[in-house]
């Protein structure tokens, strides 16, 4: 149904005439209903949206104090769904580069972080960066580590960054490694970091909460999570590939519920029983996915279409006869399946999109999977692509701490 609306063509109200607008700039003033304003604001780039934040937040808070203007008042769980961007891990010369496949997986690249904000600058540049690694992302904020020493929660869209204090002393008594996970309790907007330290004989697990801004000890995990892979956040839980100590060929998918804070094990497809190598666990466009390479240069991609239902594991794709050039990047994995079934894959410096639209080029085989043809690819020079995704959003796990906001709250009281 159409929204109620008002056209005010004659312009200014008396009240405004007497206030602060000089004669010469008095012009037509539009009284657009909130819903339409919202519609427009949703289409603005984040940079403009943040600049106009003060105009609309205050206005709408005053005008209609019961209405929450979702797109401006830190839209928890409100994704700007059009912008799914892979994040690229950086190298020495260019610590953090965000490259956007804007709006479509087949799109143009925009480097959007050539001018870091002061916050980012002090966070990242002053730490004499040797490496930046992305450990995970959830609703916009990204968990990254600088030099494997500092943990940073960072929203590349709003440029907010926060150094998370964490201690290593007391944990590391023998050789071992850290495994991380980043996700959120979506009911309370509590962003959580999980960190495990696995050594030959022990496990030490702890959890950080953005609500309390502190760490606490959690239950240890009885198995071992794979080295070098961060947790995949799907359906409110973090997931890792888990193996038993001393028996590294059998594996399972271990999960951690971020609301209940308890561990579980997920159903997996039988298919993998015949393979000795462990598949990679990924979050592929919202589905928990397993990706494996077979001996014949083929990549098999499985997805769990209904969470925690063993029967729902489906083979999404087989990418046959993988091109010679990409063999060297065999550790990299697909990172996105679009709604229409196209699959985007990052391989070393390449991003490749497999096109499902052209059905004539797709051949179904007996397993019910579909052969996809080579679509198109882009090369990003000088960079290794880590297949990370984040959603462009205004979410701030630490939104309440900002001085300007406090000032506003104080005055309004």
């Amino acid at each position: 149904a159409p929204l109620p609306h008002v056209i005010n063509l004659t312009g200014v109200t008396k009240q405004r005439e007497t206030v602060d607008l000089p004669e010469e700039i008095v012009e037509e003033i539009l009284d657009l209903p909130e819903e339409i304003v919202e519609e427009i604001l949703h289409r603005l780039p984040i940079k403009s949206l943040l600049r106009f934040n003060e105009v609309f937040i205050k206005h709408h808070m005053k005008k209609n104090s019961n209405t929450k203007l979702i797109c401006l008042s830190y839209p928890y769980n409100t994704h700007r769904s059009c912008s799914l961007r892979p994040l690229l891990d950086g190298n020495n010369n260019n610590p953090v580069t965000i490259t956007s496949l804007d709006r479509h997986p087949v799109g143009h690249f925009i480097t959007s972080c050539s001018d870091p904000s002061e916050e980012e600058y002090s966070m990242i540049h002053n730490l004499s960066v040797l490496s930046v690694n992305i450990l995970g992302s959830c609703n916009g904020p990204v968990l990254a580590t600088v030099n494997w020493k500092y943990l940073i929660i960072w929203n590349p869209s709003t440029r907010e960054a926060k150094n998370i204090i964490c201690f290593v002393g007391g944990i590391v008594r023998e050789p071992g490694y850290f495994v991380y996970g980043f996700g959120c309790d979506e009911h309370t907007n509590n962003y959580k970091i999980v960190r495990f330290f696995f050594s030959v004989s022990t496990c030490h697990a702890e959890m950080y909460s953005s609500r309390t801004n502190s760490w606490k000890k959690i239950e240890n995990y009885h198995k071992v999570f794979e080295y070098g892979y961060s947790g995949k956040f799907v359906n409110g839980r973090l997931h890792w590939m888990a193996v038993s100590r001393g028996c590294y060929t059998s594996w399972e998918i271990g999960s951690l519920d971020l609301v209940e804070e308890n561990f579980g094990t997920l159903a997996r497809p039988d298919y993998f029983l015949k393979y000795s190598s462990r598949p990679n666990l990924e979050n592929l466009g919202g589905y928990l996915s397993l990706i494996c390479f077979d001996d014949g240069n083929n990549i098999h991609i499985w997805g769990m279409t209904k969470y925690d239902e063993a029967e729902s594991w489906t083979k999404f794709w087989t990418l046959f006869n993988w091109i010679e050039d990409f063999k060297y990047y065999a550790t990299t994995t697909p990172f996105w399946v679009t709604k229409n079934g196209d699959t985007a894959v990052a391989f070393g410096p390449y991003i490749i999109v497999f096109d499902k639209k052209d059905e004539s080029a797709s051949i179904s085989n007996s397993c019910g999977s579909v052969e996809v043809r080579f679509g198109c690819y882009f090369k990003v020079p000088e960079i290794q692509i880590g297949p990370h995704l984040f959603v462009e959003s205004l979410v701030s796990p630490f939104g309440d701490e900002h001085p300007a906001k406090e000032l506003r709250d104080l005055r309004d009281e």
């Binding site: 149904a1 159409p2 929204l3 609306h5 056209i7 005010n8 063509l9 200014v12 405004r16 206030v19 602060d20 607008l21 700039i25 012009e27 037509e28 003033i29 539009l30 009284d31 657009l32 209903p33 819903e35 339409i36 304003v37 519609e39 427009i40 604001l41 949703h42 289409r43 603005l44 780039p45 940079k47 403009s48 943040l50 600049r51 106009f52 934040n53 003060e54 105009v55 609309f56 205050k58 206005h59 001018d115 904000s117 002061e118 709003t158 440029r159 900002h402 001085p403 300007a404 906001k405 000032l407 506003r408 005055r411």
Partner: protein
């Protein structure tokens, strides 16, 4: 007003400043509001559109005719919409977004909202305040604090002398 088969039915629309417009029914029903009226059988005489003025309605009808003449080809439709909106100023766009909303024309609504966002993208806070008629009731200290919070968003803003 039963039309003979094969003859295009024409509707008469009336703006709130009493201008009358003739438009092919096939084009007019891009508006869900009008389509509902036609389906309910209230399109016999003149359809009054109390929330749209003549200037805006003329523009909307141009759009209706233009877009309905294009066969189902999203690319072509998109380029028509881009061209159609390219010379419209902010006030006209705002009138159109209201009209599109009232007439319940989602494709026009989408296109105009996106165009307005595109116009706003590099504008100053002052410009947006003036255009949206939202007065500035921040104290200078508050304004500075707000600005400080997202300093980088104020880079590359255009000066206000244009529309």
């Amino acid at each position: 007003m039963a039309a003979e088969t094969g003859t295009p039915t024409t509707l008469t629309l009336k703006s709130n400043d009493d201008e009358l417009f003739s438009v092919a029914e096939s084009a007019a029903i891009l508006s869900v509001t009008i389509r509902n009226m036609v389906e309910d059988g209230c399109a016999g005489g003149v359809i009054p559109l109390d929330n749209v003025d003549g200037k805006t309605l003329a523009s909307v009808i141009t759009y209706m005719n233009g877009i309905s003449a294009i066969p189902a080809d999203e690319e072509k439709k998109k380029s028509y919409r881009d061209k159609f909106l390219s010379d419209k100023d902010f006030e006209t766009l705002a009138d159109m977004v209201l009209a599109a909303n009232y007439l319940n024309m989602s494709c026009l609504m989408d296109a105009v909202s996106a165009k307005i966002a595109q116009v706003m993208e590099k504008k100053s806070v002052g410009w947006v305040r003036r255009k949206f008629g939202i007065e500035n009731d921040y104290t200078p200290e508050e304004e500075a604090a707000v600005k400080e919070e997202h300093k980088w968003t104020f880079e590359g803003v255009e000066t206000d002398d244009d529309n």
